[in-house]
Subunit: 65 residues, 12 copies
């Protein structure tokens, strides 16, 4: 028995926390192809003009093809 | 002369061998865009409930855009 | 406020220079989804039959989803 | 004067946050060998069947031998 | 047009969360040189004597020179 | 709900194939703690005195604590 | 005989080429501390609003302390 | 007592399996300098025109100088 | 013929030298399971209160299971 | 059908550009063994005494054995 | 309670040993900001004209800001 | 002006120290091609039958072609 998954890379953004940025990315992945797993590959960010921290978290998402 | 390729990431799964898991991933890539090259980037797996080894091999595939 | 980006991987090819290979990849990314940023992840190449150097530069492109 | 530490690797799991997954792993390390330091080495996860994010954080723990 | 940025490396510490440790590091960067971007490069920590988790997050900060 | 896994590292050895070396390592892991997942982290080897290839494959194994 | 060097990290920016971005970074390093060597550690960029490619090249510079 | 080894890098190619590609590389290393150890450093490949998978495995070989 | 090794990670500490820190770690590994090989994976340290350098060297040790 | 390639590592040097340094390295590889592919693995440099930038680009070259 | 550290990168040089090169770098760090920890990140060198080995060891130093 | 260097990889072995293993490798490099620079890329070892530590240090050597 053999099956294949695809891996896509998304960047979620949040001014709340690193964990919330992951959630934002996962919610953009769409419902018709459920997420089997994800892996955080990069954690960056910037300071916004009203002095908030914007977390930018890159995740790789594994989805059934 | 200039041309571009896209790189997509797939995970092939097989209870046979690492090489067979690569083949499963390549077969899922589709015929209309032929595979120019591939690169193995991760080799993971699990033990199934009937005690077989399931190899999960991630490959990056280069295809003409 | 939260928004998400996708990351895609392209390989640009040029016999001019590494920088030109980046430009070739960016031009293939399409206009309807503008490029927010890119990152060079691999720089390879080959020597062509008429003895020119072909640069093959892989970039990851971040685009608004 | 010379002393030695051992390094063990644990994966903590939490549906709360990345930081809480670290805490779960540390609490499993046991009291008789106190944790001298830890290092996060991998951050993965999955979406549970009731649509929650499960964070899986791998840490290396240094403990006095 | 050309301009240059410097990259400095700071370690923020917090007993709250990984995200709060990032905030601590960013607040130490000073106001006269605003932060253009940051990148998390290491996430470590220790357990304090009163049994709290101390998160130590290393970030690289990009600032206009 | 929270649970923790331990990660141990084993090197399996086989003169058959890379896949068989993985199997050898998994069989040494013991039955009382079932293997949840594994990851190949290193693939080395040597040539034996009777001229066979000995594959030495290092895997990390995740097991419920 | 012993002497020490410091390593600083700069990001040069150019719309010309990767090599020119390196030059921009080196020119910002100042004359009173001459550059002993440099190493390219990251090559990123973006597309500007008038559709030019902006190369952002990070270099580490070694300078006599 | 001191002795030195050299490390050379070879790419073996096989349409059979990853393990067979390793064997091809080892056989090209020559008999007069026996192989002390090897390490797989890259696993790539392509699909041939008659639709077979060609495995290209790079190994580093340690040999007594 | 197949046999398996385990890999454990230890941190040796010495105020003498990096090489002596390796020796300290190896001596803590115990006699009943002889060390087949080791690999240095991290070299850190601190300055002690009486102004000595404390080398902290992490090694992975391979031992017959 | 099986064939083997060797990989050699060269450092090309140029005061022109990164791309020209690659060309210098390739020209030193010799004609009797044609270059099948190359990969850039390191990009360093220094500032010369007459204030020019000397680019030092390391490439790995694959050649039919 | 929160506090921040800065990380600076120095290269120590010695014709004695790797450990002595670390010491040279630490001594250049200055007394008014004591070193909290260090990490070796690169070990290079050259052969001097009078045929001695010059070790060049790069360390990252963590210091209270 | 352009010139090229070759990079070769050697493993020096010593029961004295890591630094001495580097020296052993450099002495095997030969006099007719002087060593321009070297870089330590791997530090491994084993325990000998008479209970000594054998350090095995891999270095890359840059030599004028």
């Amino acid at each position: 028995m053999s099956k294949t998954f695809e891996v896509v890379e998304l960047v979620g953004i949040s001014t709340e926390s690193l964990s919330d940025a992951v959630k934002q990315a996962l919610e953009s992945s769409g419902k018709e192809k459920p997420v089997s797993w994800f892996e955080i590959t990069e954690q960056r960010g910037r300071v916004t003009q009203d002095d908030k921290i914007e977390f930018q978290v890159t995740i790789k998402i594994g989805r059934k093809l």
